[in-house]
């Protein structure tokens, strides 16, 4: 097993990974930027190292600084967490060249799946269903318009090298399309260092269902069921569930089996999530693949009883899948996660500031993952997530009730949070009835604004 692992990340995921490594008996190194030097999880690590200024480009994205810590501390493994360099193939290669194990899939997989049109081609060649889309767009406006007409409006302009919903723009006609392409190209170049774009058919209000897989370096792949992640704002997830409610188990299992077969055929390794859009008629269409641990992994852990981070570390070290997972993994109860963001609950604008008061709920079936303690500051340098609140109960109605109770017992003062949004979601009739799609968050916000206006009148 790894002797010492460097956790190249911050916040809730750094805390989560440090805990898993400790449970595996592995020594740990945590890194921090100047803005994060007081965060509580650093105390969980055996060693800590400063890696630079608050700006992520100079610290958590600074490959040379991280590789210097790797060399300096003698760590033989590196866990990238999620975000930052977790899906950077060049970084994964440099870690390996330095003789350490990158705790994720091989760099070739990160590269292949990181480029969205290449990932689509790889999956489609093995029988994964896809929605209509273009290949990479060139600079020819006429060709772009022709591609959109072939797919049929509305279309979604997407960066091929992208992620996190950045640079994704909808277009309903030719004029909108050309403007969206120009804007997305500039944003994509700046955000991902890659100006490649493609078009996808814009499915109005689909469900976002994703399949969790684990794989070893010996050709074995298994899935750990699915997650429902349709509640999103700005194409970013806010609430996730396992299992996906209101969909036939047989259809979900068939889709999971198909994904597993395809990844086994490709000899994919370690950990991954296949994201799909489900629209009821077209089935589960491939959206993209994430080659890392995901934020929402905890709901899968809750319903399967598998520690995904420990499994990821052991698989990256080369252990066989049958040694890491029990022979059969079932589904137990229902789990739901709410991401607590430091943001305005109606406009979703960032709200950095001091965490003057911070109290979390506790009790059976409640799990809180955070990188902060009371008195810390949520700075504007990183993403707005303060914590993840995960509840696990016997069934979905009980899980929803438990989440509501847990949110009401949560106290966050000093910054605005999206807790009012999640509470409104939990009272939304469509959500309660599992009539969910990616348009639901906007509907909830509309209702909240209408209620606020009625109260003011």
């Amino acid at each position: 097993m790894f002797h010492k692992v460097l956790v190249a990340n911050r916040g809730a995921v750094a805390a989560r990974v440090l805990r898993a490594l400790k449970q595996l008996g592995i020594r740990t190194v945590a890194v921090y930027s100047e803005a994060d030097r007081d965060l509580p999880y650093l105390a969980l690590a055996d060693e800590t190292r400063a890696i630079g200024p608050a700006d992520a480009r100079a610290s958590y994205l600074n490959q040379d600084a991280l590789l210097a810590v790797l060399a300096d501390t003698g760590a033989d493994g590196l866990h990238p967490g999620y975000g930052f360099l977790s899906e950077n193939a060049g970084f994964a290669r440099r870690v390996a060249e330095q003789g350490a194990g990158f705790i994720g899939p091989g760099a070739d997989w990160i590269e292949a799946m990181g480029h969205k049109t290449r990932a689509r081609d790889l999956m489609a060649a093995r029988g994964m269903p896809l929605g209509p889309s273009s290949g990479l767009l060139d600079d020819d406006a006429e060709a772009t318009l022709a591609a959109a007409r072939r797919i049929g409006y509305p279309v979604l302009v997407k960066p091929a090298g992208g992620g996190g919903g950045i640079g994704m723009l909808a277009a309903h006609d030719d004029a909108q399309l050309l403007a969206a392409v120009a804007q997305a190209r500039s944003l994509s170049q700046r955000s991902f260092g890659c100006a490649d774009l493609y078009l996808e058919r814009l499915v109005e209000r689909p469900r976002h269902i994703e399949f969790q897989v684990l794989a070893d370096r010996h050709g074995n792949v298994r899935h750990l069921y699915e997650r429902e992640c349709s509640v999103q704002r700005r194409h970013q997830k806010v609430v996730e569930e396992a299992s996906a409610p209101g969909l036939p188990r047989a259809a979900l299992d068939a889709a999971a089996d198909r994904v597993t077969r395809i990844l086994a055929d490709m000899r994919y390794d370690v950990i991954g999530t296949v994201e799909t859009l489900y629209d009821g008629e077209g089935g589960f269409n491939f959206l993209e693949m994430n080659t890392r641990l995901q934020v929402e992994h905890a709901v899968t852990e809750a319903v399967t009883g598998i520690d995904l981070v420990q499994a990821q570390v052991r698989l990256a070290f080369g252990e066989r899948l049958d040694a890491v997972l029990p022979s059969s993994v079932g589904l137990n109860g229902h789990a739901i996660e709410a991401r607590i963001y430091a943001e305005d609950p109606l406009r979703f604008l960032p709200s950095p500031g001091p965490l003057a008061r911070l109290e979390w709920p506790s009790g059976p079936g409640i799990r809180v993952e955070t990188g902060y303690a009371q008195g810390n500051r949520v700075t504007p340098y990183y993403d707005p997530m303060i914590a993840k609140l995960i509840v696990h109960a016997e069934d979905r109605p009980r899980a929803l009730a438990a989440l509501e109770e847990a949110l009401r017992a949560t106290v966050v003062e000093g910054v605005r949070t999206n807790i009012p949004f999640v509470l409104a979601l939990l009272r939304n009739e469509r959500f309660v009835n599992a009539d969910i799609d990616t348009g639901l968050a906007a509907e909830v916000v509309r209702d909240m604004k209408a209620a606020a206006a009625a109260n003011a009148a």
Binding site: G164, R234, A342, E343, L349, P350, S351, P352, G353, P380, Y381, Y382, D383, P384
Partner: protein, 73 residues
């Protein structure tokens, strides 16, 4: 003509200044773009007018409620 102070709605860092002192701006046009928590948020002109002052430059930190520009409109 009224003098209007333009406030940043969020705490962050000025990523880009779009306006120039002395230039005419339309209502809702972005005067500058603030980067915060991995988002880019434009600070729009509250009314059409002329930019009298820009009180921040690219790379400067800004606080929620801080006056970042003044326009005459």
């Amino acid at each position: 003509m009224a003098r209007i102070e333009v406030l940043s709605e969020i705490t962050g860092t000025v990523w880009k200044v779009e306006a120039c002192v002395g230039a005419a701006v339309e209502a809702e046009a972005a005067l500058l773009i603030v980067e915060s928590m991995k988002m880019e948020i434009p600070v729009p002109a509250p009314a059409a007018g002329t930019v009298l002052e820009l009180r921040v430059g690219e790379g400067d930190p800004v606080e929620e409620g801080q006056v970042v520009a003044v326009i005459e409109g």
